[in-house]
Amino acid sequence: MGLLSKVIGAIISGAGAFILFYGMSDPNMSWVWFFIGLLVISIGFQMLTAGGKQKAPKPPPPTITEVKCDNPTCDFKEIRDFQKGDYVLKPLDAKCPKCGSKMTIQGVYIVKEEDEKDKINV
C-alpha cells in the first residue's frame, strides 16, 4: 500500500506538471490550467509524502554487568547480562576461576551508540 500510493502520487505529480507546463501554452485558458496543474501537483505530492511508516522505537541497549577479580595481580574480568539484584561494588560468592580470589561487580552499564543520522557536526 505504501509503495503503491507513492507510485500513484508520483504519476499524479507528473500529470500535474504536464498540465501546468503545457496548459500555459494555451493563451485563452492558461490561468485555469495553471491552477488545475498546481492543484494536481499538490495532490500528487501529498500522496508521495503522506503515510510514511512511523519509525519503530529502537529497543534499549542491553544492560551489562562487569565482574572483576579483587586480586590486584589478577586480570580476570567477566562481562555478562544484568541480573536482578546486581549492583556496583556487590561482593560475589563466586570465586575467580583464574586465581580463586573473591570477585566484585565493578560496573553495571549500557553502551549507547549515537545514531550517525542524529549527529550534527559543527
Binding site: 534499549p60 556496583v88 553495571v108 549500557i110 549507547k112
Partner: protein, 372 residues
C-alpha cells in the same frame, strides 16, 4: 471568435483569486490553529501512552511485595495526584528552612506510603520503589498539564495558549521519553547516570584501602562517609547510603562535618553529574568553583553557607551527560570517566591543600544500584 473566450472564463479566475485571498485572510489563523491542535493531540497521545505504561510498570513492580493488584492500583492512582505546596517567598527570610522542612515532610510521606503499599520490601527496595513511583508521578503530571492546556486552548480558542504548548511539545516529549526509558532502571535497581558522584566516592575510598566496613553511617539523613587517609591528608569521603535509590541530604551532612571539625577543614570538593550542552561529548569532565549539587535549594545553601562562614575553599568536578543519560541506566562512557575524576581529585588535594589538612569530598547523586 477565440479572442472573446478569455472573457468567458475570467470571472472564474477572479472568483478563485478573491476566494483564496478571503479564505486565508479571514481563516488563515484558524487553519493554523487547527494544525497546531492536531500536532498537540498527537503529542498528547504519546504522553498518555507513556503515562499509562509507566503506571502499569509501577503496579507490576509494587504487587511483587505483598499487596494485591486492586489495592496497588487504587493506591498508585491516589498517589499520582500528591502535591507539595512551595513555601511563600513574598517574605524570603527563612524560605530555605521552610522549604527544607516541607521536603522532609514530603519524603516522610513517600516512605510511609511505599511501606504501606509494599510491606514485604526491605529498606533498599523501598527506596527503589520510591524512585519508581516518582517517575510515574512525573509522567502523569506532564500528561495532565499538557492535556489541561490543550483542552483550555480548544475551549477558549486562545492562540497564545495553543501556540505555546505546540512550541514546547518537542522538548516535553524529549523529557517525558527520558523518564519513560528510565523507569525500568528504577524498578530493577540499576545504577543511573546521576549516580556518578557516589560511585566516584566509593571507588576513591577503595583505591586508598577503605572498604564498606569503614563506612560511617548516618552523619545526615541517609548519608554517611568513609574516613580516608590519602596523600598525608584526612579526607571525609561523603555520599548517600546505597544501593537503594536515594540522594540523601549531603548538604547538611557537609555542614555537620564542618561543625564537628571546627576550623580544621581546608577544602570542600563536590563531585556530581552535570547536564551537557548539545554537541559536547558524554563523559567529558569539567572543573569549577562552587557546590555542584542540583537540589531545590536547601542543601546547596547549607554547603555555601558553611563554606563562607568558615572561609573554606569550595570546588566542583562534574561529568557531563544529557538528561536521558542522567535518569537512565549509567552509560559506559560515564563509568569510564571515574578513574580520571579520581585523578583530578588527587590533583586538587595535592595542589590546594597541605599535608595534615582535613578535606571533605562529597559525591552528590542518586545511589540506586551503587553499593557502599
Amino acid at each position: 471568435m477565440s479572442s472573446t473566450q478569455p472573457n468567458d472564463f475570467s470571472w472564474i479566475i477572479n472568483l478563485l483569486f478573491f476566494g483564496f485571498i478571503m479564505l486565508f485572510s479571514l481563516y488563515g489563523a484558524k487553519i493554523q490553529m487547527w494544525q497546531w491542535l492536531n500536532q498537540i493531540k498527537m503529542g498528547l497521545g504519546e504522553l498518555g501512552r507513556m503515562a499509562d505504561d509507566s503506571k502499569q510498570k509501577a503496579i507490576d513492580t509494587f504487587k511483587e511485595f505483598g499487596r494485591g493488584q486492586d489495592e496497588v492500583t487504587k493506591g498508585i492512582e491516589r498517589w499520582l495526584d500528591y502535591f507539595t505546596i512551595m513555601p511563600v517567598d513574598l517574605d524570603p527570610a527563612g524560605v530555605l528552612r521552610r522549604l527544607d522542612h516541607l521536603l522532609d515532610e514530603r519524603r516522610d510521606r513517600f516512605q510511609e506510603y511505599v511501606r504501606e503499599l509494599a510491606p514485604n520490601a526491605n529498606s533498599s527496595v523501598d527506596q527503589n520503589l520510591e524512585n519508581t513511583l516518582e517517575v510515574t508521578q512525573v509522567l502523569s503530571l506532564i500528561f495532565r498539564v499538557v492535556r489541561h492546556y490543550y483542552i483550555l486552548g480548544k475551549k477558549t480558542g486562545s492562540q497564545l495558549i495553543i501556540m505555546q504548548v505546540q512550541m514546547q511539545m518537542p522538548e516535553l516529549l524529549r523529557m517525558a521519553k527520558a523518564y519513560y526509558d528510565a523507569i525500568g532502571a528504577f524498578s530493577d535497581g540499576k545504577p543511573i547516570g546521576d549516580g556518578l558522584g557516589p560511585l566516584v566516592i566509593s571507588k576513591f575510598a577503595r583505591q586508598y584501602g577503605v572498604s564498606s566496613e569503614g563506612y560511617v553511617q548516618e552523619i545526615g539523613r541517609e548519608v554517611g562517609y568513609y574516613p580516608v587517609e590519602a596523600e598525608g591528608r584526612t579526607i571525609y569521603a561523603l555520599r548517600a547510603t546505597g544501593p537503594g535509590g536515594t540522594v540523601g541530604k549531603p548538604g547538611f551532612a557537609v555542614k555537620t562535618l564542618v561543625d564537628q571539625n571546627k576550623g580544621e577543614i581546608a577544602r570542600i570538593i563536590t563531585v556530581d553529574a552535570a547536564l551537557k550542552l548539545e554537541g559536547e561529548e558524554t563523559g567529558r569532565i569539567s572543573e569549577g568553583t562552587g557546590a555542584a549539587i542540583g537540589d531545590p535549594g536547601p542543601e546547596k545553601h547549607a554547603i555555601e553557607e558553611t563554606a563562607t562562614e568558615n572561609g573554606i575553599g569550595i570546588e566542583a568536578i562534574v561529568v557531563k551527560e544529557d538528561e536521558a543519560g542522567a535518569v537512565g541506566v549509567m552509560e559506559k562512557k560515564v563509568l569510564d570517566a571515574v578513574p580520571e575524576v579520581i585523578e583530578r581529585i588527587r590533583e586538587v588535594i595535592l595542589k590546594r591543600t597541605k599535608p595534615g589538612d582535613k578535606i571533605i569530598l562529597a559525591g552528590i547523586g542518586n545511589t540506586i544500584g551503587i553499593g557502599i
